[in-house]
Symmetry: C2
């Protein structure tokens, strides 16, 4: 039987609850498909801070690097919000992305027919939305140097960051985006602010050049402010969106909320080689942590992405995706996606129902 | 009689059409209130590029600086999209903002009861939305140095920009935002990315300190990705939002689309002294330029903001605002906000109807 090493990083808040459920689903789907998983759980984020004093212990990063794929719950919480930068849970996440060199973040946002009413958008606007945001994840203003605090030439106190992209960074994320678009509807929209920023001008230039390698994909460009509007006006116009780290952070969250069911949305972060990082796009939700209220489906679907994009185990991935749809069709809903006529369940029970459908 | 000098910058696309209508409304409202306007029209944006080779001629900036207020139509168009940076219409707009030192950009986004169905959001979500985005306009990544193109230490081609804020820049925009919130519902939300960016950490620190001067205003902080979500999930939770230049660009456009009637939304850009700059937030809409289809109401409402915020002529401002509401109540609509049962009119006719209501 095939065997894979999976690093589990439960993290903070609802992270441990959703990871524990997703682990069971992964195990069962794997065993049916003849795949064995060895799970290795490590501390990360606020949990690691409390335990070891740093948000990403050496040992956690080493374990992650040596495994075949990493499944993360969520990190962060009020408790650590005022920490200095190097002691923030978020810093651990950025170190993990950097350490694993996962430069391509895939964030699907689609409206399931079963959940179209969960969107705050009108039914006719939300129905059928099915888009994929490809976000650059290890460059741009998140990592650019110089950065820090200081004084300007007039002695004023300043805080500063650098938005910087190298051509090769743009080229490699563009190729992932074109490949992604090719497997979907063949439409790619590149989002930038090339009317103002030099970093965006280079972005647009490189994406346009790489397009020549993908004549079958239809490329368009859009300014980020307009993209933020168009996602609200008519999200169905988009198929695949590619953008930089900070714009991707903003637009993928906006897109996810348009689906109305952020508790459903997974993500995959991939490098050119080595293990990928898979995580739900929702946060650690400290307000409902430990109450068995969290929606585990985003993490379960992240496990499906882990199988498909991380391990190439497509059959097991599809088994999980179908199990999630089947569970929704059988009427089970956690609080965040609940509406009249459905069966309200907690995190654990939702997990058990998915197991029945696997 | 009081007399003011107004610089008119029609600009590109639908700019000239909407400015010509707004000028008539301004004149009439002024004359009823005993105010005289001297209008001085100057080229700007693509129009200036075609005429003089630069997007903001010296003469235009000088005229603007010497006047009491500036009313701008819109700038930009496909024709100049591929121009080098210093020859882009957008660069002219940035030079104008910098030249006039208008660091505070006020962008109201409210859903009028008459137009609630124009929003793509469900009626119960859109109804009653009434928020104000206070965007920092002359700092941050739009103007930060160093910026440009070059090579990194490994010889890779790069494009780069600097996000930088000085404490005094944050303090002054924060004060405008607190003052604005105080005159509204007393709730201010400051949006940043302080979990990642040093520039945002300084932002949050300064805004928090300035808050001590406004104990009657309730301050909250939100990360920009969450704000992009919350605007879709429940826009009514916001009253006044204050944020930096690039986040303000993105969020104010998103907020405006949430109202569904971006053709209705004005903006004001103010400095500590000197003339303010007033413009609709919509673009130059080259696809409908010259066809008498544009909605002039955003520019007419910008003229009202000019009166209120630029000249302190509150009575004339309210006269215009009421005239716009009255015209809507009488059923007149341009194409962008038209629905069954209303009277579809063009740009000029809409202007004439507003004149009747002034
Ligand atoms: C927690 C934070 C650092 C992170 C980011 O900004 O990338 C999060 O918002 C995300 O999108 O994964
Ligand atoms: C045209 C462009 C430079 C401008 C900006 O980004 O500020 C516009 O989008 C706006 O919001 O006024």
């Amino acid at each position: 039987a095939k065997s894979y090493n999976i690093t589990l990083l439960p993290g903070d808040g609802i992270g441990p609850e959703v990871i524990s459920v997703a682990k069971n689903v992964l195990s069962l789907a794997g065993s049916i498909e003849g795949i064995e998983f060895k799970f290795n759980e490590k501390p990360m984020g606020g949990a690691a801070l409390d335990l070891t004093g740093v948000p990403l212990p050496e040992e956690t990063l080493t374990a992650a690097k040596q495994s075949d794929a990493v499944l993360l719950g969520a990190i962060g919480g009020y408790k650590w919000d005022k920490n200095e930068k190097h002691l923030k849970p978020e810093t651990g996440l950025l170190q993990l992305r950097e350490g694993l060199k996962v430069f391509a973040n895939l964030r699907p946002a689609s409206v399931l027919p079963q959940l179209v009413d969960a969107s705050t958008l009108k039914r006719e606007v939300a129905e059928g939305v099915d888009l994929m945001v490809v976000r650059e994840l290890t460059g741009g203003i998140y990592f650019g140097k110089p950065r820090g605090f200081g004084t300007d030439e007039n002695g004023n106190e300043i805080g500063f960051n650098t938005e910087v992209y190298a051509a090769y960074e743009i080229d490699r994320i563009a190729r992932i985006a074109f490949e992604t678009a090719r497997k979907r509807s063949g439409k790619l929209c590149s989002v930038d602010k090339a009317n103002v920023l030099e970093a965006s001008m280079l972005w647009r230039k490189r994406v346009t050049e790489i397009a020549a390698e993908y004549p079958d994909v239809e490329l368009s460009h859009m300014y980020v402010d307009n993209a933020a509007m168009q996602l609200v006006r008519n999200p169905k116009q988009f198929d695949t969106i590619v953008t930089n780290n900070i714009f991707g952070d903003i637009l993928s969250d906006e897109a996810s909320m348009i689906t109305g069911s952020i508790g459903m949305l997974p993500s995959a972060s991939l490098g050119s080689s080595g293990p990928g990082l898979f995580e739900p796009i929702h946060g650690s939700a400290p307000d409902i942590a430990g109450q068995d209220k969290a929606n585990p489906l985003a993490t379960i679907l992240s496990a499906a992405m882990l199988l498909k994009y991380g391990l190439g185990e497509v059959a097991a991935a599809e088994r999980i995706e179908l199990a999630v749809l089947d569970t929704l069709n059988r009427g089970f809903r956690t609080g965040d996606i609940h509406s009249d006529g459905n069966k309200l369940v907690g995190c654990k029970e939702m997990g058990e129902e998915v197991l029945k459908s696997v």
